[in-house]
Every structure is written in structure tokens, then in C-alpha cells.
């Protein structure tokens, strides 16, 4: 530890070790976090971040070592209530009751009232008080399912603090959020920090860590690499510590299409307008081997455009053409046959079938080829998936493993392999590196690069400005229309265009 201090740390992790079977998940890790600090927790997948978080939330007990809160020993693992009073955790998908009202969510587990009867009036008033304190413009009587994800996260924090918790863990809270929501979350974190609330912040985005954390720890292979406070956090050490032994990340992809713009487009949208209206009059062309990125705030219709190309949405007017041929809209199979491969925005929801094997998930879109007469040979399916597993460098390279057992980055590789299985001419990728670690990110970018070199037209749709920067041609959507086309943009160019600051 490099923080000599007279104050009692809010969280003290004292020489903690944890072993699962043969895996040493944590080895002799010590971290102290002072009250009012925002502490970044960084590490690649499998570095031990989850295990450490589970120790701090009481979901796991250390084999050796101890966890202390404000100098007191942590409560026993069985006492869930005691843990909840000390620590609250906000996940990227807030665990809340979407079928209940906002007020009920705020008071779940501690409904106000006398004995068994619930006082709806007290709950209503209290909920209104919390919402106004947090400047959340929502009706406490409305259902939580009507609230956007950012508000749900805010509500989770609000609830925890209202119940007296002074330590909040944020586990990749920004993954599902867009720019303005992230800034609001960060503003709130800083405001609460001034009130003495302690935060532990887990993120894959170093920019976010350097932006709000005043101390940080880096984990690798279950060991604490370093733990720092103050300005050191802002230094390049962070990147180096994380990337040590790793190839430096490649940024801008120089697309091979600079010379290819005069060739016939591999993909073309002509005044594409969705029935029901998520997007209107969208036109653009992508040449073979060209990369086009599409950005925009949430609700700008950028995802819907990708889904329409993939055949998941039907056009009201206009058309999508692949290699000059109009694709029937609203039919996934038709889009696939026209050469479109697709990686959806949310891999958990649309990407894979968790209990099925890697082989089955990868070949799901090519069953018509594997089984032209209806029946297929599992041996052929395995052979095909082995090739794909090599292509995407899946870890572990086992076609029989259920996808639910893979890490997030490798699950995403399975989804990408599924898109590549038909040898697509056009790849539509929505946030392909969201929530994956840096190593997987590199692997995915390498795959995109190779596809481009093979002459595949790639449409990369993303919320992440860093990801948009990968492309030298960026389209920006606002309110369902293409609002700007940027060539060789800087980060600032993109942010200004997304926010509409011309």
C-alpha cells in the first residue's frame, strides 16, 4: 500500500486469497480505500476483479485474509442484511423489479408501514422526496419498465444510499449507457463523493477511470499489480500496467477501400424508411473492403438501421441492396442469402443460445447449407465450427462447450463467428466490443481488419466514440436521419456531431 493515512479506510482488503480448484483467483491481495474516494478497479477478464467484488459484497468469503469496513470485520456471509447495509452494488443490468412501480422498487425489502400492512401513502411521499433529491423526473407510481436503464441505475444508488449504505460498487455501469447519461452518472458520483460516499468503479474504459477515479488498483492473474492514489492514476502507468506483455492496441483501421470507392457498392441503402419510424430516408453506400461507422445517441435509430439490413426490421419504403440486388426486407434468411452477416447489439438477448454448444451456436445460420435435406451430420458441424473457432481464436477452443460457460469476450467471438459462417459480403456489427476485455477487443478488431482485406464491406454501429474512431468514414444519425458524414474525424468532431453542436 502506498497510502499512509490516519483515517480509517472505508474498505480494507487485507491479504486476501481465494482458490477455486486449481485456479488461484486471488493471491495475497491488499487494497485500502478511504472514505470519499472513487477507486478504480482495473484488470482484464479473469484477472480477479469479479472475485474481489464478490468478497466486498459478501457473496464469497476469502480463504485467507480479511475484509474490513470502517475498521470493523466484515459480517458473516450468511448475514445478507448486514452486508446490504454496508455495501450496495450497481451492475450494468440493474437487478430490479421491472413489473413493479418505481416507489416499490425504492422500498423493496423495506416497505414502510405497520407490521404486515403497507403504507402506500408514506411510500409515495418518501419516493417523491428521493426522486426530487436526485432530480429524476419520473412518476413514482409509474412502472420501472418505463424508465430508461440510466435512471434504473440511479434509482439503485439512490435506494442504497437512502437505506444508509455508504459504500457503492459500480460494476461496469456505463456499458449500456450513452454519452450524456454517463456524464450525468459521473456528476452524481462526484457530488456524492463530496458527501463522503465511497465508490469502487469497475470499467473496461480507461478514459472513464482516469476521468472520475482518484485512486485505482490494477489486478492481473489474481495478483495486485499496483494500487495508487492521486495524480498517479492519471498517468500512463495505468495503460502500461494493464497492457504489460500485450501488443499495443491498433487504432484507426486504414480501410482498403480508398481506391475502391469507384467500384460497385457491396451494400447500398436507398431512402430506407422503417415502417413505424425508427429511421427515415437513410441512404448510403459501402464499397467492398470499406469500413463505415455509424454513431448517434440512443434512440437515434442507428441500431434499427443495422437490424433492418440484417432483416430483423421491415422497411416501409426505400430499399436495401446487396451487390446491386434488392434484398426483401424483414427476412433474416433473405439477408443472409444476400451475403449479410450480423452481430446484434445485445449478445445476451439476440446473440447466442446459452445452453447450446459453441458448434451449434456458430452454425445456427448455415443449417440450410449443413442440412440441405433437413438432416445434418454433427461431424461436419464440428469440422465447420473448428475452422471458425480457429478464425476467431476462441478460448477454450472446444466446440462442445456450452456458450454459457464462456467469458463475455469469447461469447462475443461466438456471435462473430456465427456472422462469419456464411462467408458474408457485408458485415453489420453493432457495438461488437461492448463489455469485452482488451485482449478480446484486439482479437475482434483483427477479425474486422481481415474481413476488410478479404473485400467484405463492414458497417460498424456503436455508442462508443473510441470505437467509431476506428473508421475513417463516420456517419452520424440524429432522430432517425443521417445528420452528418465525417471523414477522418477526431474524437471531438464525432462528439460534437452526435450532440448536434455543428
Amino acid at each position: 500500500m502506498t497510502t499512509p493515512s490516519t483515517t480509517v479506510p472505508a474498505i480494507q482488503i487485507d491479504r486476501v486469497s481465494k482458490t477455486y480448484g486449481a485456479t488461484k483467483a486471488l493471491q495475497d491481495v491488499s487494497v485500502s480505500i478511504l472514505p470519499g474516494q472513487v477507486h478504480g478497479l482495473i484488470g482484464r477478464n479473469g484477472a480477479g476483479k469479479s472475485t474481489l467484488l464478490r468478497m466486498i459484497t459478501g457473496l464469497e468469503t476469502p480463504d485467507t485474509g480479511a475484509v474490513r469496513f470502517f475498521g470493523e470485520e466484515a459480517p458473516p456471509a450468511s448475514d445478507a442484511k448486514a452486508w446490504q447495509q454496508r455495501v450496495a452494488c450497481v451492475y450494468q443490468r440493474p437487478s430490479v423489479f421491472t413489473n413493479l412501480t418505481i416507489a416499490e422498487n425504492l422500498f423493496a425489502g423495506r416497505l414502510p408501514g405497520n407490521g404486515p400492512s403497507v403504507s402506500w401513502r408514506t411510500m409515495q411521499n418518501e419516493a417523491e422526496r428521493i426522486l426530487s433529491e436526485w432530480r429524476i423526473d419520473l412518476d413514482p407510481k409509474s412502472l420501472l419498465s418505463d424508465a430508461p436503464i440510466e435512471e434504473r441505475q440511479m434509482l439503485t444508488i439512490a435506494k442504497a444510499l437512502d437505506a444508509g449504505t455508504r459504500i457503492v460498487l459500480l460494476d461496469e455501469p456505463t456499458v449500456q449507457l450513452e454519452g450524456s447519461a454517463i456524464r450525468r452518472l459521473f456528476d452524481k458520483v462526484q457530488e456524492l463523493q463530496d458527501d463522503g460516499v465511497t465508490f469502487v468503479f469497475v470499467s473496461h474504459f480507461l478514459r472513464e477511470v482516469t476521468a472520475i477515479c482518484d485512486s485505482a488498483s490494477v489486478l492481473r492473474d489474481g495478483k495486485l499489480l499496483w494500487s495508487r492514489t492521486g495524480d498517479d492514476v492519471k498517468s500512463d502507468d495505468l495503460v502500461e500496467a494493464l497492457l504489460a506483455g500485450q501488443e499495443q492496441r491498433r487504432h484507426r483501421v486504414e480501410s482498403a477501400a480508398a481506391t475502391a470507392t469507384d467500384t460497385a457498392p457491396a451494400l447500398e441503402l436507398r431512402s430506407a424508411t422503417e415502417k413505424g419510424g425508427a429511421f427515415t430516408d437513410v441512404s448510403f453506400r459501402v464499397a467492398p473492403g470499406e469500413l463505415v461507422a455509424i454513431g448517434g445517441v440512443g434512440g437515434s435509430g442507428k441500431y434499427s438501421v443495422g437490424e433492418a439490413i440484417a432483416g430483423l426490421r421491415r422497411l416501409g419504403s426505400g430499399s436495401v441492396l446487396a451487390d446491386g440486388e434488392v434484398i426483401p426486407t424483414g427476412k433474416v434468411k433473405a439477408s443472409q442469402k444476400a451475403g449479410v452477416g450480423f452481430v446484434p447489439a445485445d449478445r445476451h438477448k439476440d446473440g447466442y443460445v446459452p445452453q447450446l454448444s459453441v458448434a451449434e451456436n456458430m452454425t445456427m445460420g448455415v443449417m440450410d447449407r449443413l442440412a440441405p435435406a433437413g438432416f445434418f451430420s454433427p461431424r461436419k458441424q464440428n469440422e465447420m465450427s473448428r475452422t471458425l473457432i480457429q478464425d476467431v481464436a476462441l478460448v477454450p477452443p472446444n466446440p462442445a462447450l456450452a456458450v454459457s460457460g464462456l467469458s463475455g469476450g469469447n461469447q462475443q467471438k461466438v456471435v462473430l463467428a456465427r456472422a462469419l459462417a456464411r462467408d458474408p459480403r457485408v458485415l453489420v456489427l453493432i457495438s461488437p466490443t461492448a463489455g469485452v476485455d482488451i485482449a478480446a477487443k484486439d482479437a475482434i478488431y483483427a477479425l474486422i481488419l481481415r474481413a476488410l482485406a478479404d473485400g467484405v464491406a463492414v458497417v460498424l454501429i456503436s455508442d462508443d466514440v473510441e470505437e467509431l474512431l476506428v473508421s475513417s468514414r463516420v456517419l452520424i444519425m440524429r432522430e432517425g436521419r443521417i445528420a452528418a458524414e465525417l471523414a477522418e474525424p477526431t474524437e471531438e468532431d464525432i462528439v460534437r456531431a452526435i450532440e448536434g453542436l455543428e
Binding site: G351, M364, G365, L401
Partner: protein, 339 residues
């Protein structure tokens, strides 16, 4: 961050495909101890139990249930439900028989060709499945409520058509599949066995069969992967109802008549058999082997209860109790299989 990741790495599952398949089979076979216990009890309480005629009887009496369970398993794998299958068992052969037999015996008197009647039975089944499928898939109604309504409606039509009577005097051709014997064993047993083999092959080696697992596991992902989810679901309902109507035909052949109560309460045994056999009601998990063992367990149990002389009024109570026990064993004896 996936908190389960660290633990998952340590599980060496699926290392060898062979070992994996054995492990999966063993999980499915968790019904087997129950089946053996029931059989041992049967052998103890009655010397008649372990005789060829009695064992054949068990299989013959399980045949209709087995065929309904095949269709139900398909539907359960997709995460849907169709409890109206039992009414289809009654209605399809009833309408065919009604058109088949003379007016003097309660029929309509059209006296159509018996082969046409057989075909008609299956077509009625298919149409009911199509209707159920459209209501669930296109109108997006809840499958439980839809099939509950259909269960009542179809049973009502059966009663209305037959005026509550039993239609006897069926021609031989119509009764053939339910009454013939091949190589000394009832044809119904052969046919049911073959259907189970086909179902197992379809679920393992056919694109359609694997699509059922994909849809039950994650319908959105299946759709995005290019599986025609709606079409697969509707065909699943059609296949299940057609199988149910075929079961009805076999039952009519066995009873040599068509009664208005045919198939009543069958769906509860069918659901119990599938679930005991490891088919998950939430979809995406379970295998036909398990469902078959579930059918055999229930068939053997009924037989043993009768042989043991359990008072008629108590048979259902014991039957229900044993189903609960089997679910317990299945839950704690082995984890449900994944594919």
C-alpha cells in the same frame, strides 16, 4: 463482469465428446432407479407382473400416452405449451368415425371410405395444430390459456358431435393400427417405438429438431441467426396435434369404439412423463429418451397399482404421490441435462 466465470473454468465439462455424452445419458437415466424400484415392487406384490403378456400389456397401454408425449416434448422444448392435445386425441377420431359409420349406429351416415377417414383423422389433427399455432405465434396469445380454451372447446365439440354416445361398429381398416399384431406383438407398440426412434433422430440430427432447442433457449437469438422462428413454432404445433390425432386413432382401434371421453386427463400424465424425464417447462432442455422413460415409469406404475389391488378410489392419490416422488428424485438425484 460475469461472476460465474471463475468457477466455470474449473469445470472440465465436455472435454471428451464421448465422456460428455455418457454423462448426459446418465443424467437422463435418473428416471431409471424409480422405474426399477416400481418394477421390483411389482414383481414382489404379484407373480403376474413379470410375465410376457403383462409386460406387453404395459407397453400397449402406454402407446397412446407415448405418442402424445413425443408431440408434447417437441412443444415444451420450444418453451410453449399445448394442453389441448388430449382433446385432439378425442375429437379427431370422433369426427372421422361419425362420418364413417351408419346413421343407425349414431353416425352421420355418409359412410366414407375408411382410408379417407384415417386420413381425415390426421388432417383434423393437423388443422387443430395449425389453429393453435397461429393463435400462439401470430396473435401472440399465451399458450397455456389458448390451449386451455381449446381443450374445453374441442372436448365440447366431441360431445356435441357424438351426442354423448359411444360410436361402435368401426370398420376393420379404421381399427387396424390399434388392434393388429405384428410378430406376436401389438402393432401399436412397434409404431410407437419407431416414432420414438424417429423423434430422437429428428431432435439430434435434423435442422428442425435443433431449431426447437435454439428457440426454447433464446428465441430472439434464434431469429437473429436466421431461424424462421414463427414457421418452426407453427409446424411444431401441427406435428404435435397430428401425433395426438394418430394416438386417438390407435386408442379407438384398441377400444373398438370411439367414446366422447377419449383422451380425457391424458395431458396430465403426458406432462408428468415429460417433466419426470427431464424436459424443462421453460424450454430448450430435455431429451426424448427421458420422456420415453417417464412414459414407461407411469405405465408400469399404473399396472403395478392395479396388480397390487390398491382400492380403485385410492389409485389416483398413490399415482399423484409417486409422480411427486419421481420429480423429487429427478431434482435432487441429477441436474437437468442441458441439451
Amino acid at each position: 463482469m460475469n461472476s460465474a466465470r471463475t468457477t466455470v473454468i474449473t469445470v472440465p465439462s465436455g472435454r471428451s465428446p464421448f465422456l460428455g455424452s455418457v454423462v448426459r445419458n446418465v443424467r437422463e437415466l435418473s428416471v431409471l432407479p424409480g422405474l426399477i424400484i416400481v418394477a421390483v415392487i411389482g414383481a414382489i406384490v404379484s407373480p403376474a407382473f413379470l410375465t410376457a403378456p403383462n409386460l406387453t400389456l404395459i407397453l400397449r397401454q402406454s402407446a397412446e400416452l407415448g405418442i402424445v408425449v413425443i408431440g408434447l416434448t417437441f412443444i415444451l422444448l420450444t418453451g410453449k405449451l399445448d394442453i389441448s392435445l388430449e382433446s385432439t386425441v378425442g375429437l379427431a377420431p370422433m369426427v372421422a368415425a361419425w362420418l364413417l359409420i351408419p346413421a343407425a349406429m349414431g353416425g352421420l351416415g355418409t359412410m366414407i371410405n375408411p382410408f379417407v377417414a384415417i386420413l381425415l383423422t390426421l388432417v383434423i389433427g393437423a388443422l387443430i395444430g395449425l389453429f393453435n399455432g397461429l393463435l400462439v405465434v401470430k396473435v401472440k396469445l399465451d399458450p397455456f390459456i389458448v390451449s386451455l380454451a381449446m381443450l374445453i372447446l374441442l372436448r365440447g365439440i366431441t360431445l356435441g358431435v357424438s351426442q354423448g354416445k359411444t360410436l361402435a361398429g368401426l370398420p376393420d381398416a379404421f381399427r387396424y393400427i390399434g388392434s393388429a399384431r405384428w410378430f406376436g406383438v401389438p402393432a401399436a407398440i412397434w409404431v410407437t417405438g419407431i416414432l420414438f426412434v424417429i423423434a430422437a433422430l429428428v431432435l439430434r440430427y435434423a435442422a428442425w429438431g435443433r431449431a426447437l432447442y435454439a428457440i426454447g433457449g433464446n428465441a430472439d437469438a434464434a431469429r437473429a441467426a436466421g431461424i424462421r422462428v414463427d414457421a418452426v413454432l407453427i409446424t411444431t404445433f401441427i406435428v404435435a396435434s397430428t401425433l395426438a390425432s394418430f394416438a386417438g386413432l390407435m386408442l379407438a382401434g384398441r377400444l373398438a369404439s370411439v367414446t366422447s371421453g377419449m383422451g380425457q386427463n391424458l395431458i396430465f400424465s403426458a406432462l408428468a412423463a415429460a417433466v419426470i424425464g427431464g424436459v424443462q417447462l421453460t424450454g430448450g432442455q430435455g431429451r426424448i429418451v427421458g420422456a420415453l422413460l417417464g412414459v414407461l415409469l407411469l405405465g408400469t406404475l399404473t399396472n403395478v397399482l392395479t396388480l397390487a389391488g390398491v382400492p380403485t378410489f385410492w389409485i389416483n392419490a398413490v399415482y399423484g404421490g409417486v409422480i411427486l416422488l419421481a420429480l423429487f428424485v429427478g431434482r435432487f438425484g441429477a441436474r437437468p441435462s442441458r441439451t
